[in-house]
Amino acid sequence: MTMGKKKKNGSGRLDAVLVPLIAVLLGFLVGSIFLLFTGKSPLLMFNAMLQGVTGINIAMRSFNPRYIGELVIQAMPIILTGLCFGFAARTGIFNIGAEGQMMVGSLAATAVALTVKAPAFIHVPMILAAGMMAGALWGAVPGFLKARFNVHEVVVTIMLNYVALHFNNWTILNVFGSVDRVKTAQFPQSALLKSPWLESLTNGSRLNWGFVPVLIAIVAYWFILEKTTFGFGLRAVGYNKDGAKYAGMKVNRNIVVSMMIAGAFAGLAGAIITTGTFSFGRALSAAEGYGFDGLAVALVGACQASGILLAGLLFGMLKAAGPLMQSNGIPKEIGGIIMASIVLFVAMKYGIERIVTIVKLRRTKGLALPTETEEAGV
């Protein structure tokens, strides 16, 4: 796994921005071609996205700040699951378990919200902390299994997502009780991140105080990984496990701790969704896809804090524009298709990097194409 590595040479930083950017553009291109093939207009899609970002509807010449609020609402959880995937990836772990870690996070948040009685300034932090702890514990399991038994984390984390789903449903329906077999009772007011002021500011969107812990999480991610010795140790394991071990680092402990911190990010996402976007615990019929969204966010953001923020907003826009597209007759799943294409193009980094290098070479030295490119099929 070579994600999130910075190259030492001068052009490395530029490439780190350029490759994801090209991947994003190509992803939108694939999406547009796909729409054309199925007889839909890409322009309608782009119009819906513009409206999703700015709140401006070109056709109707109107402005509605509600869309901006909804964009933030959509971006918040996937930024956090992006941090979750990114943090583990920097330690060389492919954590697809954000979904499950998030579910147990929201379950723990539900438990504290319903059982504890406290004023809001104590209740809310307690809920967020409970969500993070639950996520961390759920994340520790695949971390431990990888460190102790060398079990590959990909299958384990996916399996744990399903276990979390059924565990969540059983607890919601049987422990907290549910009238309609879908959700628990309403949380008390003191448990909620909701803000009438933010809602009125954005014309009745679901915008809430959840964005504050999200911003703190982004800063924490950057600080831990880039500014602490501990973070350096984690990254060292990601670069070269054997090298880190040889240098005297506790590789196995780092793997478990990294998964716990990653899980905490996802658990926080669960807590924020449950007490911000919703106000009750939910039984789910299936995974909601936040985990895979986070993976896409982190890969496009090159597992860097700032990149994850930007990519999260980008994919948040795709999700927020979904209902707008649907009302224009474009299936909102085109967002998922674009997202998957972008991830695919990021995976083709090698191919894109080759093209970038060739274009640069041509421009600076006027060299002919290296023969290897035909072989690489790009």
Partner: protein, 317 residues
Amino acid sequence: MSLGMVLQMFPIALMFGAPIVMAALGGLFSERSGVSNIALEGIMMVGAFAGASVTVVLEPLTPMAPWFGLLTGIVSGMLFSMIHAFTSIHLKADQVISATALNILAGGLTVYLCQILFTQQRTRAFSYGLRKITVPGLEKIPIIGPMLFYEMYPTFYVAIVLVVLTWFVVFKTPFGLRLRSCGEHPQAAASMGINVYAMRYAGVVLSGALAGLAGATMVLTQDIQYTLTSIHGTGFIAMASLVFGKWNPWGVLGAGMFFGFSQVLSFYAKDIPFLSSLPQEMFYALPYVLTIVALVVFAGKSVGPKAAGEIYDQGKR
């Protein structure tokens, strides 16, 4: 638990087990050629969607519609897996990321196409799917007859045939030897004049065909239509079966059937005295928990193809 109940459970367990075995055999071809393929799940989704759609459309015209559905599942799985083959073999992409992209793509793609074709989030429901068959004569054998030959989905027999075929192809033919050598030490294989790229393409596309068939089988035997949750992790369970079965067709058969039985338990738990008090959700979660347990138990002991998941670098020695 009476004998009658066990006999009843058998055909259902085999119905659940058959697609797991098929998809795991697909994974076997891919990994034996040196390309890890966690996209089995996504390929199964595409195969299931294609199989269900073709069945729905052809149903009024021919009673063979589900068989055309299976065939379309195979073809669409092959086409879809080509993306993974191209990115991970030619473009040297990280195979886990490329396969994960395919898993995400499958969800978006199939539901999008459902909306285009059927203007809803799922395919239209087909009225029959595959029909069960009874093997005349053999069904009369005591115990084994009702377990294996009475009112069974024909896809179970397809799965068994595929196990034998896979074993023969992988271990008894020159093609199989070459395929395996590419998964163990591609550079050495290349030095013997084997086209590693071609062998790996063959491995991945065969895995696409088998996973596509598995997806179509699953939807046509266990469902009435394709939805986003039709496959619900079966592709990943197939991955685990491959590890559990030690990358060997017979082991895969055993592992797949084991997971098939673990899924049936949730239906019969309420009739089994000491299990009936446990929550239903526990049995839903059981196959996934068992997958993890199987991985832990077999992690150290089973050794997969050495070069699986590694990017093929001609210059490496």
